[in-house]
Structure formats: structure tokens, C-alpha cells
Amino acid sequence: MAKTHVTMTVNGAQVEGLVEPRTLLVHFIRENLQMTGTHIGCDTTHCGACTVDLNGMSVKSCTVFAVQAEGAEITTIEGMANADGTLSALQEGFRMMHGLQCGYCTPGMIVRAHRLLQENPSPTEEDIRAGIAGNLCRCTGYQNIVKAIQYAAAKQNGVEFKEAAE
């Protein structure tokens, strides 16, 4: 199949490649760019393991063709750490609050939570649950993911994080 040249910015770096028109963005990221932090968990855009940030929006990269991302600004899990290489507030929150187990949904979950906190810096528990409804987790039961995002929100807002009483 004839290939098309694509160019985009991924985690701040200009990248390019040759793709078939049918190549999914997630395959371009994982296989052409060899950034394997973005995962694939279903065929129907339900699970959110492939979530990336595209032009300031959370998108499921299994439902976007690479050619549609021409010229786009993309952030993946590999671009989530602080500039000095330390864990971001969200990454730290997931670890401190035990917001992950097998780690497979985690990249999509963190990338989604990153955008959620841009959209709503002080979300309630309900806001968070609705905000991550496009991302499935089979291990944690979400309760500690909610806490992880609350932890990050508090840290970003410069306030002390208080765990809700159980």
C-alpha cells in the first residue's frame, strides 16, 4: 500500500515517518517511534489504554489515523515527567496512593488525568470519576486512582493533601 509522509511533534520533538493511510496513530507511536508506553487494550475505543494528549485534548490513539495527526502536538506518557526527570505530581500521586497495580492502564490514565487537571484544577471526586470514565482499569477498582488524582491536584494547587476518611 502506498505510504504517506507525516510530521508531528511528540513530547516536544519533531518526528516524521512513512505510514499507510490506514496506520493507526497508536501503531505509529509504538512501532515507528518505538515509544511503547502507550498501550492497546481493546478494539472498540472503550478502554483508554492508548490515550494520548493531542492538540490539548485527550484522544484515544487507536481511533485516530496517523495521517490525521499531521502537524499535531502530541504528548504521551513518556513526556509526562518533570523537566528534571523527577516524577510529576500525578506520577508521584499514583505511586503514593497505590493508584496502579499491573501498570497497563496507567499511562493512559495519567495522560488523561493530566488533561483533566488542566480543564479542572480542583475537581471533586465526582468530577474525577466522570473525567476518567473513558479509561478502564481492571486492577484497582478506581478508588485509589481517584485519590492519586486528588493528591496531584492538591500538590499542583500548593495545598496539603488530606485523604478522605474511609
Binding site: 509526562m80 492502564c105 481492571r138 486492577c139 486512582i145
Partner: protein
């Protein structure tokens, strides 16, 4: 001592040993997208394989034409059963003693069965190749309903064994029959029922579901023709077992097979078995001389690689008028699909279903299980449970509620009346188990007090009256569940897989500077072994957990073990870890005695080293002992400080717990709201409370999904209707209830550290708690048992069946 000397508390805290909420080691890489899962493995020249699958549930395969497919750009080979026959691999043995087609050999027996394997340069080309393979089918009548499997005129499914009167587990009654398994005293149980003042009998079905971890099953196989070695990266919960199975069926020397389980994206039982994809990828690599990757998509995962449950349990309980149980009789019709690929220890065709007497002191019981073939996917894995333990717990916990309803007794009171009492442990159950330890009354009472059970029942009574007066259309259910699990398979006297005893193992090697590496035969899929195993070692030998690297999953470096499933890691490998650590400690004590110039018996252990009894200033820490082991061991002693332990457990462990669910259901819409869910778990000694709580949250969420929505349903033609996340319920953060967790601690008396295992308890206990809540809500309206899953539609249907829904007036 000067002021800089750390206090005992500081020394203990520095170890981060057992009981500490240690943050996970794994998270550093997982939160940065630096995990290494199977699909992340990319080798030079790697090809991709994918399956042509059957659209029919039951059909003869008349012809497979691969000519057009081989002309598709990028397609290099199409493997069929005929190809596999040349290497004697068209069929493979299953863990249950049956055989299974790797690729359709003459006929297909379930929808989406593997028919041909297309190998191509990339996954897109493989897909093009699939579309170009032409298969000619002649449809046959499908058998979908297990209750019709043994009818005289039922279609013959397994022509390969239709005349075989004996299967792997004894005589067969019919050509679609697999086994009959019976346990217990039939005569005594019959007498109990004849004499019973009260009996109940109900068909309790546990629907077919699927573990669906977020990462599907996948592998990369690479055959090195020069060395004659096969390396397999795969999503394996039991990598050593896979190596042995490959050696046996591919006739390769076992030392030339390297199996690597890298990071695994959840397992829940799905990744225990051996599937056609693994065989085909290995054969394809041998045929092409290149590495071959096989990655399931979600549809393939839900419809082919395994399923769980599909148990239809006719349950009878005999009791006195006062509610004392006197007998239990259960018959199970087990739908195993097209091949018996159940993942149970080999001698247990229905797993440990004979734990079905649960937490109650039944004087006698009898159990019979009939396994049958149908035109459905093969499997029968333990989805987040020890083998068939969820089914057993659901059976008895629904049964006890139904009995309570018949006796007009409170279900919690009925349970308290019949619990095995603390002084009865070790307790011998009527169906053959020896329960190690338990204190059921304390756990149940704590749960009831915490949720104000009596208050909830008062509220329910008032709301029922209000419903009857027509003041509300909402009904309230209180679901009580008290489960006893049986985990930690298992003692070699009765547990093996294909003849290999179900021990587990640990090797610890300490380095001169007070650090070390530990390797086990288990394989974490999210349980956090890299974190918790180091905590056991830290407490046992006083080296900080941070200084112990834990490694699992590489069969070349890890000691042989049977893997991670059935909550066996902590009961079996956890014990091996403690035993290996104690061997090291014993040698360390000799080194310390020599250095401190005292007899070994004059030393006592003190957190992180040895101290001379009565002379607290004479102390030698483990860090220094590590150095001495390599630098100046006592005369005649071998240098080094390492140990290995293979642990054959003397018994299973028996975790238990009390769960209470409070739910409100709108009868007009069937919409439910889980108002409260409280889970008290007793898993014996607690290694990392943070991880235990996480396991309980996750297991409860899976229980919620099963009880309230999951089903792999088939229509009459054998079309599978639960084949994507569109149709198969995985709850999001929005639907998932809030979980309250609690605990009691009753250590296992036979386990070196007293731990019992916890990962699966919440699924085992959670499902009956939810189902009992729904059934309890409807019970005052005359309903006895409503089958799972209790989704909105079924709740509405239940209300309609009870005459609660007002039909709209005709226009």
C-alpha cells in the same frame, strides 16, 4: 552508645519489612511508561501472525484455500492443521487431560475457533491475508444448552472421542459427557434429607464470564536454528509450566527452551493456560526462521482464550426448624465448551468445588459434578479465585440466604448459628478438607457492628412497609456473605499439574555489601511481588527491602515454580521465601558467633543482626555479616551467603471474610444504587496493608462486574454475544461503588509467617454479597432466587415477573 545510634524503631522502619505500607518498587517504571510488556518486545526481522477464525459454532471444514492469501503483499505463510500434522501438533494436550485442536482439523466446534494462521511482515498485512483465505464450511446443528448435551439425539461434538467410554477422570455416560466427579457420603446425606424438618432446593446458576485483563494474551517466539533453541516471551502466569509443556509436546530438550514472562498487564486466570496462538507462533518461527509475534485482539480474547464459571448448581440444604443445618446436597452441571481445557490441578476435574460446605458445620454432604461438551469456547479458568472456589462460595452463600428466607430467620443470624466454631479448628469438613484456622464469629460480629446491621434491618422493615403502602417505588436490599476460601495449591500429596507437584520456590543470594537478589517461581501480574517479597526477606534477615532486588519470570534464572494464580503465591512461594531466608540466617549466625567469639546458642536475633545474650553492646549487623561471608568466613565454612528453598506446603490455607452490601433498587426501571459495601478480610499475617487493600478494591470491583452485568452469552445458533467491551460489562469509575475495607488477623498455623493469601477473596465473597443484596431486596415480595447478572433489565424483569410493573393502559 552515642546519640547517632538509631533507635529500635528507626532500625525497624529502615527495613520496610512485613506490616509496612511500603510504596511499590514497580511503580517507578510503570508511571513513566517504561514497563516492558510482551507487545513491547521487538526483534530484528520479526513477523506477525494472526488467525482466520470460524464464523460457525459447529461445522465441517470442507476445504481451505490459501492460494489467494499467499499472493497478498507481505504474507509469507499460511499454516493450517495439515501443516501442523507434519510436526504432530495439530492437536495439543490440555491441562485437564483432554486434547484440543490447535487449528481446525476437519471441523470447527465453536464460533471464532482458530482455523488457519497467517504469517506476514506486519500486523496489517497479516489481516489482509486473513481476508484472502477461503474456507468452505458445511454447517452442523449446534449444541448450546448444556442441559441438552446428554440428550439421546444430541449432536455429536467430539468425533475424535465419541466411542471412548473412559475419559481422563473416569467413565463417560454419553458422547458429550466429559466426567462425573463425586465427593462425600451419599447414603448419610440421603438420611439427613429424609429426616430433615426443613429443606430447600434451588437451581443456582453462575453464568459464563471472562477474566479480560486489560492486556490480552500474546507472545513472541524466536527459534534459533543454529543453536536449536526456542525463546518465548509470553503473557504467562506460570512460565516454568509453559516451558515443560513445550518440551513435552514439541519434543525439544527443555534446556533449549527459554521462557520469559516480562511485565504482565493483569492475568486473573486468563494467562494460566496454553493457547493455539502460542503453538502457532512457535511453529511459524521454526518454519520461517524468523521471530513471530502473536497478539490477540479484544474480540479474540473474550471469545476464544478461555472463560470462567458456567456452573449450574442444583443446591439442597437440610435443616432443623431452629435453623441448624444437617445436610448439603449439590449437583453441578458444568459447561466446559468444546474441549476440556479447565485450568485445575490435574486430579481435580471440578477444582476445589468441594469447599462448598463453606463456613458452616455440615455434619454430612454430598456433591456430584457432571462436565459436558457444548459448542462454546473451551476453558474454565479460575477468574480471580482458587479453582472453582467462587462458584462454591456463591452456591452456599445463596443457599444459606434461601434457607433463611424459608425459615423466616435473619440470614446473618442463620450464619452465626451454623459457623464452624473457633475451638473446632483444625476443622475436618464433610467433603474432605482440613481448615487450618478461623474465627468466624468474631469477624461476622465485627462486620455487623461496624455497619449497624440491626439498624439497617430496621430501616429496611420500615421501607418495605412504605413500599407496600405505595409511598415509594424503591426497594432496599442487604446482602450478607461470609466466605471461606481454600487457596495455596498445593500439597504434593494431592496437587499437581501434568504430574509436576505444586510446590514453589525461592533463591536468595546476598552480596558482600549487604544487598542481594531474590528469585522466585511465581510471576506477578500486578500483585506487587517485587515490593512484598523483599519485605518478607527484610523482616527475616534484617537487610532493608530497598537493598533486595526481586526477579521473576525468566525460566533460565528463576528456580522452578508453578506460577501465580489461585492465590498461591503468598501461601506457597511466600513460605519458600521465609524458608530460604532462614537458611541464610542460620549460616549468618555461625559467622556472627565466630566473629564475636561466642557459641551460636549465645546469640539472639535483634531486628537486623545478632546480639550476645546479656551483652547488648556485642552486636554484629547483617550488613557486616554479608561482608564477612565473602571476606573471612569461619575456618572450614564455604564462602558466600545464599540459599534456595523448594516449599511443599503441608496444607492449603483458608482465608475468610464477612462482606455486607446495601443496595437500593428502583422497581420501575431496575436501576440499582450500591449505597454501601463493607468488606472484612482475614488473610492471616498481613505483609503490606496498602497492597492488601488494593487487592481487595480490585477484587470487589470484579465481583461487582460479574454480579451486576458480566455475561458471555450465546444465542441458539452458537453466536457469541459478549465479544467486545460494547457488550461485556467492565465497570468504569462512574459505576464502581465506594469500598470500605476492614480486617481481623487469624494466622495460618502451618505457614512459616502465618500468611494465607488475599488477592481473590474479594471476588469470592463479593459476588454473593451483591447477588444476596438484590435477592434480599425482592424477597419480601415473594421472590426466592433471581439469576445473575443483576443488570437493570433483569431487575426490571424480576419486578415485572412479580407483578410490580403497571402495564401502560391501551391507547
Amino acid at each position: 552508645m552515642n546519640d547517632m545510634t538509631p533507635t529500635r524503631e528507626e532500625r525497624e522502619a529502615r527495613l520496610e519489612g512485613m506490616g509496612c505500607k511500603r510504596k511499590r518498587v514497580e511503580d517507578i517504571r510503570f508511571t513513566q511508561g517504561k514497563g516492558n510488556y510482551v507487545d513491547d518486545v521487538k526483534l530484528p526481522g520479526m513477523l506477525h501472525g494472526d488467525f482466520v477464525r470460524s464464523p460457525h459454532a459447529h461445522a465441517r471444514v470442507k476445504a481451505i484455500n490459501t492460494e489467494a492469501a499467499l499472493k497478498v503483499p507481505g504474507v509469507l505463510a499460511v499454516i493450517t492443521a495439515e501443516t501442523l500434522k507434519t510436526v504432530n501438533l495439530a492437536w495439543m494436550p490440555t491441562l485437564a487431560g483432554d486434547v484440543q485442536m490447535v487449528l481446525a482439523d476437519g471441523k470447527v466446534l465453536f464460533q471464532n475457533q482458530e482455523v488457519a494462521f497467517v504469517v506476514a511482515t506486519d500486523r496489517y498485512a497479516a489481516d489482509d491475508g486473513i481476508n484472502a483465505v477461503e474456507v468452505e464450511y458445511e454447517p452442523l446443528p449446534p449444541l448450546v444448552d448444556p442441559f441438552k448435551a446428554m440428550a439421546p439425539d444430541a449432536p455429536v461434538l467430539r468425533e475424535d472421542i465419541k466411542d471412548k467410554s473412559d475419559g481422563a477422570h473416569g467413565p463417560r455416560k454419553h458422547y458429550n459427557h466429559i466426567f462425573e466427579w463425586t465427593v462425600g457420603d451419599k447414603d448419610l446425606t440421603d438420611v439427613a434429607f429424609r429426616k430433615a424438618e426443613v429443606t430447600i432446593k434451588e437451581l443456582i446458576s453462575y453464568q459464563r464470564v471472562h477474566p479480560s485483563p486489560l492486556e490480552t494474551c500474546q507472545c513472541v517466539c524466536s527459534f534459533d536454528k543454529i543453536k536449536g533453541e526456542l525463546t518465548i516471551w509470553g503473557t504467562f502466569q506460570a512460565p516454568h509450566v509453559i516451558r515443560t509443556v513445550v518440551a513435552l509436546i514439541a519434543k525439544l530438550p527443555e534446556q533449549k527452551i527459554h521462557v520469559i514472562s516480562p511485565d504482565i498487564g493483569g492475568g486473573f486466570g486468563n494467562k494460566v493456560g496454553a493457547y493455539p496462538g502460542y503453538i502457532c507462533a512457535a511453529v511459524a518461527s521454526i518454519v520461517t526462521g524468523k521471530p513471530v509475534k502473536w497478539v490477540e485482539d479484544r474480540m479474540e480474547n473474550l471469545t476464544t482464550t478461555s472463560f470462567a464459571r458456567d456452573y449450574h448448581m442444583t443446591t439442597e440444604i437440610a435443616a432443623t426448624k431452629e435453623g441448624k443445618v444437617t445436610g448439603l446436597r449439590v449437583h453441578v452441571l458444568a459447561d466446559h465448551g468444546a474441549f476440556d481445557a479447565c485450568a485445575d490441578p490435574s486430579k481435580w476435574p471440578a477444582g476445589f468445588f468441594n469447599i462448598v460446605t463453606g463456613s458452616y458445620d455440615f455434619p454430612t454432604a454430598h456433591l456430584a459434578v457432571d462436565g459436558v461438551y457444548t459448542n462454546k469456547a473451551p476453558g474454565g479458568v479460575a477468574y480471580r479465585c482458587s479453582f472453582r472456589v467462587t462458584e462454591a462460595a456463591y452456591c452456599i452463600e445463596r443457599g444459606m440466604d434461601i434457607l433463611a428466607q424459608k425459615l423466616n430467620m435473619d440470614p446473618a443470624e442463620l450464619r452465626l448459628k451454623n459457623f464452624v466454631r473457633p475451638e473446632q479448628f483444625p476443622y475436618h469438613s464433610a467433603l474432605g478438607w482440613e481448615y487450618d484456622s478461623g474465627d468466624y464469629h468474631t469477624a461476622m460480629t465485627k462486620a455487623m457492628e461496624t455497619v449497624d446491621y440491626a439498624g439497617l434491618r430496621r430501616e429496611q422493615a420500615a421501607r418495605r412497609e412504605a413500599f407496600k403502602r405505595g409511598e415509594t417505588r424503591e426497594i432496599m436490599g442487604i446482602g450478607v456473605s461470609f466466605f471461606t476460601e481454600i487457596v495455596g495449591a498445593g500439597p504434593s500429596k494431592n496437587c499437581d499439574i501434568l504430574g509436576i507437584a505444586m510446590f514453589d520456590s525461592c533463591e536468595i543470594r546476598l552480596h558482600p555489601t549487604g544487598a542481594g537478589i531474590a528469585r522466585m517461581g511465581t510471576k506477578s501480574q500486578g500483585q506487587g511481588h517485587e515490593t512484598t517479597w523483599a519485605q518478607i526477606i527484610a523482616t527475616e534477615i534484617g537487610i532493608p527491602a530497598d537493598n533486595i532486588m526481586v526477579e521473576e519470570g525468566n525460566t533460565d534464572t528463576a528456580p522452578y515454580g508453578l506460577g501465580t494464580y489461585g492465590s498461591r503465591s503468598t501461601p506457597v512461594a511466600g513460605a519458600a521465601i521465609a524458608m530460604a531466608a532462614r537458611k541464610i540466617k542460620a549460616k549468618a549466625q555461625m559467622i556472627a558467633a565466630y566473629k564475636l567469639e561466642v557459641h551460636e546458642d549465645d546469640l539472639e536475633w535483634d531486628i537486623d543482626g545478632f546480639r550476645v545474650k546479656g551483652l547488648p553492646e556485642k552486636f554484629l549487623g547483617m550488613k557486616d555479616i554479608c561482608w564477612l561471608a565473602y571476606n573471612s568466613p569461619p575456618p572450614g565454612m564455604e564462602p558466600g551467603l545464599e540459599a534456595v528453598s523448594y516449599y511443599d506446603p503441608p496444607n492449603m490455607t483458608y482465608p475468610f471474610g464477612a462482606y455486607i452490601c446495601v443496595m437500593d433498587i428502583d422497581v420501575d426501571t431496575g436501576v440499582y444504587k450500591v449505597r454501601r459495601f463493607y468488606a472484612l478480610d482475614d488473610c492471616g499475617t498481613r505483609i503490606n496493608p496498602m497492597i492488601i487493600e488494593g487487592q481487595v478494591h480490585g477484587g470487589l470491583t470484579e465481583a461487582f462486574a460479574i454480579a451486576m452485568g458480566q455475561e458471555i452469552h450465546y444465542d441458539e445458533a452458537g453466536n457469541v454475544l459478549g465479544g467486545s467491551f460494547m457488550d461485556f460489562f467492565l465497570p468504569t469509575a462512574v459505576e464502581t461503588p465506594h469500598w470500605e475495607t476492614d480486617f481481623t488477623v487469624t494466622p495460618s498455623p502451618h505457614h512459616p509467617i502465618g500468611a494465607k493469601g488475599v488477592g481473590e477473596s474479594p471476588n469470592v465473597g463479593g459476588v454473593p454479597a451483591f447477588s444476596n443484596a438484590v435477592n434480599d431486596a425482592f424477597s419480601f415480595l415473594g421472590s426466592v432466587h433471581i439469576q445473575m447478572p443483576h443488570d437493570f433489565w433483569r431487575n426490571w424483569q424480576a419486578a415485572k415477573d412479580l407483578g410490580l410493573i403497571r402495564e401502560p393502559a391501551a391507547a
